[in-house]
């Protein structure tokens, strides 16, 4: 009864909202900031993918905040799931079996493939759809697949800590370099090159590389914490 009532309420609410939203000029929304960015982005950042320009240049500090959120989530997961006295007694050194032969062989095959696909997606973020986030997820998937196949061979926590720290620090470092060079924080630096080339768009591919490594490290850390 409770469920039914709330479902009816939600349907009513949704109908009301849809009615309201029908007044929205969707499909022909005013493009104020968007239009200006579409016109200026290729010249100002040198990236063929304009979403990448927005993510890394125009709204770069959003991306930094997002990296910090992932970092915070991984930190909290580590803090909460850190082996406490109680948890140790419960885990009782569960024997870890390797997965089957098929899975292991498959993971050995997949690992380098996923790794290279991940880096490809990261490094082409300024040319094609994709970039640091998507590539970072693929990188994390590469490590996760090998972890699933061989649970005994755990990823090194120290390694993950170092990669996430260095990747995050280099993102901020590139931003601070622009600031120290007399510009603004996260102002695009370096030569913009030719639009559409792999080596172009100045510092954006470097930033995306940092994002990809950071996302990959945070997600690997999160998955490793959850899988333990």
């Amino acid at each position: 009864m409770h469920k039914l009532a709330s479902l009816l309420f939600a349907i009513g609410l949704a109908a009301l909202l849809i009615g309201l939203a029908a007044q929205l000029p969707l499909g022909m929304t005013p493009m104020v900031v968007g239009q200006a960015i579409l016109e200026q982005a290729p010249g100002e950042t040198g990236s063929a993918n304009i979403v990448t320009s927005v993510v890394l240049a125009y709204r770069g500090i959003d991306t930094l905040g997002e990296l910090a959120i992932l970092f915070a989530a991984a930190t909290v997961a580590g803090l909460v799931l850190a082996p406490s006295i109680h948890a140790e007694s419960r885990l009782r050194a569960k024997p870890r079996h390797d997965a089957g032969l098929v899975l292991r062989a498959g993971s050995d095959l997949l690992f380098p493939l996923l790794l290279s696909v991940g880096f490809y997606i990261v490094l082409h973020g300024h040319l094609t759809p994709g970039g640091g986030f998507q590539g970072g997820v693929v990188l994390a998937a590469a490590f996760f697949v090998s972890f699933l196949a061989r649970p005994a061979r755990q990823p090194s926590h120290v390694g993950i800590v170092l990669i996430e720290a260095l990747a995050g620090a280099s993102f901020i470092g590139i931003g601070l370099a622009a600031l120290l060079g007399g510009g603004a924080f996260l102002q695009p630096v370096l030569d913009k090159g030719t639009l559409g080339q792999l080596v172009s768009a100045g510092s954006l591919p470097l930033l995306y590389l940092a994002v990809g490594l950071k996302v990959g490290a945070e997600l690997s850390g999160l998955l490793a914490h959850l899988a333990e």
């Binding site: 469920k3 709330s6 479902l7 309420f9 939600a10 349907i11 609410l13 949704a14 909202l17 849809i18 939203a21 029908a22 929205l24 969707l26 499909g27 022909m28 929304t29 493009m31 900031v33 968007g34 960015i37 579409l38 982005a41 290729p42 063929a48 993918n49 304009i50 979403v51 320009s53 927005v54 993510v55 125009y58 709204r59 959003d62 991306t63 905040g65 997002e66 959120i69 992932l70 915070a72 989530a73 991984a74 909290v76 997961a77 909460v80 799931l81 406490s84 006295i85 109680h86 948890a87 419960r90 094609t128 759809p129 986030f133 639009l195 559409g196 996302v215 945070e218 999160l222 959850l226």
Partner: protein
């Protein structure tokens, strides 16, 4: 038969997802189900945000070299949604990590039961009698003493 209006369909989809997620959060008792409902509502919000930047008959905001005659969609909402999706999964993973600990300590993921148990514990720690309703939890069985870690007592 005229084709239905694309935008109306998509708005209904976005708002529908948000509404289903909200209902799920209102009626579900299992914490994992609540986390799933939150993810659904978030997906709906993301769809609405992408819709806010959509334009009729426009192409993706990526320069391909060929001369484009059609307009491009607004790139800004897409960048926002990228951010929102990644934030969402981070929060979700965090929630799952907390659920694991809560399950270990209390043996249940029922949100109402947990609320009662937390209330009892807070009262117990403060040395006052728990409220009336908390004395008779479901089943009338006394709960096992919850496990706390050493950091608590320090």
């Amino acid at each position: 038969m005229n084709p239905p209006d694309l935008i109306t369909i998509l708005i209904s989809g976005g708002i529908g997802l948000v509404a289903i997620g909200a209902v799920g959060m209102a009626v579900s008792r299992h914490l994992l189900r609540l986390v799933l409902a939150l993810a659904i509502a978030e997906a709906g919000a993301n769809l609405l945000l992408v819709l806010a930047g959509y334009r009729w008959d426009a192409v993706a905001p990526i320069l391909t070299g060929a001369t484009v005659t059609r307009p491009m969609v607004d790139p800004v909402p897409q960048a926002l949604v990228l951010t929102a999706i990644v934030i969402g999964v981070g929060v979700q993973a965090l929630a799952v990590a907390l659920l694991i600990r809560v399950k270990e300590a209390y043996g249940t993921l029922d949100i109402r039961e947990l609320k009662t148990r937390v209330e009892q514990e807070i009262c117990g720690a403060a040395g006052i009698a728990p409220p009336e309703s908390a004395n008779k939890p479901g089943g009338g069985q006394p709960y096992p003493v919850p496990v706390t870690t050493s950091r608590e007592s320090a």
